[in-house]
């Protein structure tokens, strides 16, 4: 596995160049008038950097890079458009399932291998059991057939995915920790209307309804214990990816604020010379540094054993998205009225970050989950 620092830095530089060239020129217009074909074209162009294959194991003809590398890629893409980055985030999160299987030394079915071997590699969407409301997803065995039914929560890549990777949480039933792969045109799969959220507009969210979808046994990637592990791994990576995108988006806002403060003259000097502006920028820099360290830490397999140190992906997501919103709002404040205008790009970042903040569950609820889901800490 390629993990050395020079190689990471090279990938960061390449992705930065790619994002500036392919995403930046159109990002604002695509926020106003989203064109799905444009996003698809960015996806196609990203194949020159092997981005779709980044997390696919080498044994499946992928690049086999670690998730941390994918997070850095997302950070760079999100600097120009978090909506574009989110397409890759959904895809990467789906791809983590393969790595998880590999770690568990579990084999892929022939049908899944065939999908992974397709050229070009299809776009995946991963459907998590977050925020179940109307009805939870469930996979049942009826008359010798595997039947998937239910309605997902709002799903990323809903309009762009070729395949849905559906993760089903344990409910003490036969569907315990299932991971199912389905083509988007499977009979019974219905993509609901765009939820019309204020951010990530190029990659809209929608609920996916599964109306008694028959799932071929070969399309069940894992179930039972291995399925649970896949779900946990995918969730952790997904949270880390959201954190990375939030940092990338707010990184661009920070840089814009720095640049603007150097050029804007107010109260007798360039505003970068005002202590209050310096304090705001210093605070933004601190949050960026801490957030970046936090999400990278969440991808570390090994860490020092300090008491009460966690490397929870969900906490990185909470910290990074909260910090990112504060950074962007301060960047807008430094820009004054210009920051509120669409053409300056910052208000779009604020809307995008607000969606990142809510993806994967509400942040206050995630705080609670981190403690509540570890009963050993209560001595129980």
């Amino acid at each position: 596995m390629k993990t050395n620092l020079d190689e990471f830095n090279e990938i960061i530089s390449e992705c930065r160049r790619f994002a500036k060239k392919e995403i930046q020129p159109e990002a604002l217009e695509m926020d106003l008038q989203p064109k799905f074909e444009w996003l698809r074209s960015v996806w196609e162009k990203s194949r020159s950097l092997d981005l779709p294959l980044l997390l696919i194991p080498e044994s499946c003809n992928g690049v086999g890079y670690p998730e941390k590398c994918a997070a850095l890629v997302l950070d760079m893409l999100a600097m120009e458009c978090a909506g574009v980055a989110s397409l890759f985030a959904g895809h990467f999160a789906a791809c983590t399932t393969l790595n998880s299987l590999k770690k568990q030394e579990k084999a892929l079915t022939a049908d899944i291998l065939k999908i992974m071997d397709a050229d070009p590699l299809p776009v995946f969407s991963v459907i998590f059991p977050f925020d179940p409301d109307d009805s939870s997803l469930g996979l049942e065995r009826i008359n010798g057939k595997n039947i998937l039914r239910g309605r997902s929560s709002l799903a990323l890549n809903s309009m762009h995915a070729d395949y849905f990777l559906v993760l089903i949480q344990s409910s003490g039933d036969t569907d315990a920790g299932c991971c199912v792969c389905l083509p988007n045109d499977s009979p019974g799969v219905e993509i609901e209307e765009n939820a019309r959220l204020p951010g990530l507009k190029i990659n809209p969210f929608a609920k996916i309804v599964f109306n008694d979808v028959v799932v071929d046994s070969d399309m069940i990637i894992a179930s039972g214990g291995p399925g649970e592990k896949i779900l946990a791994a995918a969730q952790k990576a997904y949270f880390g990816f959201i954190a990375a995108m939030a940092m990338g988006a707010s990184r661009s806002a920070f840089l814009k604020a720095m640049s603007y403060a150097k050029g804007r003259y107010q109260y007798g000097k360039h505003i970068i010379h005002h202590e209050e502006i310096q304090r705001m920028l210093g605070c933004m820099q601190m949050k960026l540094d801490m957030g970046t360290a936090g999400y990278l830490q969440a991808f570390n397999d090994e860490t020092v054993s300090l008491p009460a140190l966690s490397s929870k992906g969900r906490l990185a997501k909470v910290y990074c998205t909260d910090a990112a919103l504060e950074i962007v709002q301060d960047a807008i404040q430094i820009h004054g009225g210009y920051g509120y205008m669409h053409e300056y790009g910052l208000e779009k970042v604020m809307r995008d970050v607000k969606i990142l903040q809510l993806m994967g569950g509400r942040n206050p609820a995630l705080h609670i989950q981190v403690i509540a889901q570890h009963p050993v800490r209560f001595g129980q």
Partner: protein
């Protein structure tokens, strides 16, 4: 669960002024008419916001997102028919005679439904405010007469206050900053008046305005010493409107660039001569900043109202989202913050009634004049002609000075800034927390919560950035403590 079962905000028992600020009960026993009228204003405004604004607000937002030049004339006509755009004008002269407290009720209720729509209705009082600051009898009578006449004929009459420039935002609002500002506009003295050139930006209603009240320096090298206030009809040759900005939120309210190319302003339209422009600006700010804070309060309350409605309905597993303890704690915190800022806003508005221009309406000469002089004469040409005579024209200004001193203006800039910062920070904080509470689905545009979130941010920026407001707060407060010359090196201190 139907909307009606959440009796909060626009759907609360109306009026509920004494429920939310019960201390006013003591004042009510002393001045029953004052509080009763505020309760009436609250009910009137709430009914309008609930019945007229709220049902169409999302549609208006979408239309304005597609076309920033879209303006909802139907809503404006309804508001005009209810006289909500001329509330401070005395009843005898055709307005509603609403006090500052009554107007605070109006602003909170309308902004809780939509800040952009509220701006279209209430920001029009800039014309009246500008005239009241000047307070030359003939100008005040003329402006009131025009506003009332337009209202009666249901003809739009918009006023814009143009101070912001591309290279100078808050510089135009502060004495020290103005001294070093780099103006984008210039007024050249010529025979019979001034020739104005330059650009103003981010001007609310600029694209709709029939008249613009603009602060422009006569000497670009010495803006503070030469800042003047001009009254400019937008039909004047050389005036044009640039682009209408595509904003993050408050889309229903148009924000535009204004261009002046050799615009001639005759002497009689110079409302403040060079050197007096800053005072004019400060006096308007001494009133408007506090109302922006109350607008922020309204945005926050509206977001919370929508948020409570959502979490009361939203099912999570086998319970409602509102049944979760953390949600209840968040709501408690928000109610606490909203109620605290509301008390500050109401206190500010009542202070305006007690010590600022509204006090004039309670003075014996004004009250007697309004009582004795018939309406036809008040708004007639004969009184206007008499008022134009120099002696009478300046009588109004002199009379007002007895009520509003320079020191009072600075004190009210301080009071207003306190409310402005508190209210607008509240708006940004609460709209974001409501979004966190309702989650991804709750941010779908059909619920209006994401609109509140988008609307809030700019309130921290306009009417002086909150940083500029804080400068005013600390300067005034520390000066009262005897600490002056902040930031001046020791060797230069007197």
């Amino acid at each position: 669960m139907s909307d009606e079962t959440v009796n909060y905000g626009l759907r609360a028992r109306s009026p509920d002024l004494l429920d939310t600020v019960p201390g006013l009960g003591k004042l009510k026993s002393a001045c029953p008419k004052y509080i009763e009228k505020a309760e009436f204003a609250q009910k009137t405004a709430r009914d309008f916001a609930k019945n007229e604004i709220a049902p169409r607000v999302l549609e208006i937002d979408q239309k304005c997102a597609a076309d920033p030049a879209y303006f909802d004339w139907e809503l404006w006509e309804t508001a005009n028919a209810a006289k909500l755009n001329i509330t401070p004008i005395p009843e005898k002269m055709g307005g509603l005679g609403w006090s500052a407290l009554d107007n605070a009720m109006l602003v909170e209720e309308l902004t809780s439904a939509c800040m952009g729509c509220a701006s279209n209705i209430t920001f029009n009082t800039f014309g009246l405010l500008g005239a009241m600051v000047e307070c030359k009898t003939d100008i005040v009578l003329k402006i009131i007469s025009q506003m009332v006449d337009a209202q009666r004929r249901s003809k739009p009459l918009f006023w814009s206050w143009a101070i912001t420039e591309p290279s100078a935002g808050t510089d135009v609002e502060d004495e020290e900053a103005m001294a070093t500002m780099r103006p984008s506009t210039h007024a050249k003295k010529i025979e019979g008046g001034y020739l104005v050139n330059g650009t103003k930006c981010f001007i609310t209603n600029g694209s709709l305005a029939h008249y613009v009240i603009a602060t422009i320096p006569a000497d670009s090298a010495h803006p503070k010493e030469s800042m003047a206030t001009f009254f400019i009809p937008t039909t004047t040759k050389g005036f044009s409107v640039g682009r209408i900005e595509r904003k993050c939120g408050q889309k229903a309210s148009q924000t535009a660039e204004l261009f002046f190319k050799d615009v001639f302003v005759p002497e009689e339209n110079v409302w403040e001569p060079p050197g007096k422009g800053l005072r004019h600006t400060r006096e308007i700010l001494s009133i408007t900043r506090g109302f922006i804070g109350i607008g922020g309060l309204g945005i926050a309350r509206g977001a919370l109202e929508r948020g409570i409605r959502y979490v009361s309905r939203k099912k999570v597993k086998n319970h409602r989202l509102i049944d979760e303890e953390w949600v209840q704690m968040v709501i408690a915190d928000m109610i606490k913050d909203i109620n605290t800022v509301r008390c500050a806003g109401i206190n500010f508005a009542m202070a305006l009634d007690a010590y600022h221009v509204w006090k004039m309406f309670d003075s014996v000469p004004v009250k007697a004049g309004l009582k004795i002089v018939p309406e036809k004469i008040l708004l007639g040409k004969s009184l206007q002609a008499l008022a134009e005579k120099s002696m009478f024209s300046h009588a109004g200004s002199e009379f007002k000075k007895k009520f509003v001193s320079d020191e009072q203006i600075e004190t009210f800039v301080y009071y207003g800034s306190l409310v402005k910062v508190a209210g607008t920070d509240l708006a940004v904080n609460i709209t974001s927390r409501v979004a966190d509470m309702v989650g991804l689905e709750g941010l779908s545009d059909q619920y209006g919560i994401e609109k509140s979130f988008r609307d809030a941010k700019v309130t921290q920026i306009y009417e002086g950035s909150n940083q500029a407001n804080r400068i005013d707060i600390v300067k005034h407060a520390l000066s009262k403590m005897g600490i002056k010359n902040l930031g001046v090196p020791d060797e230069n201190k007197p």
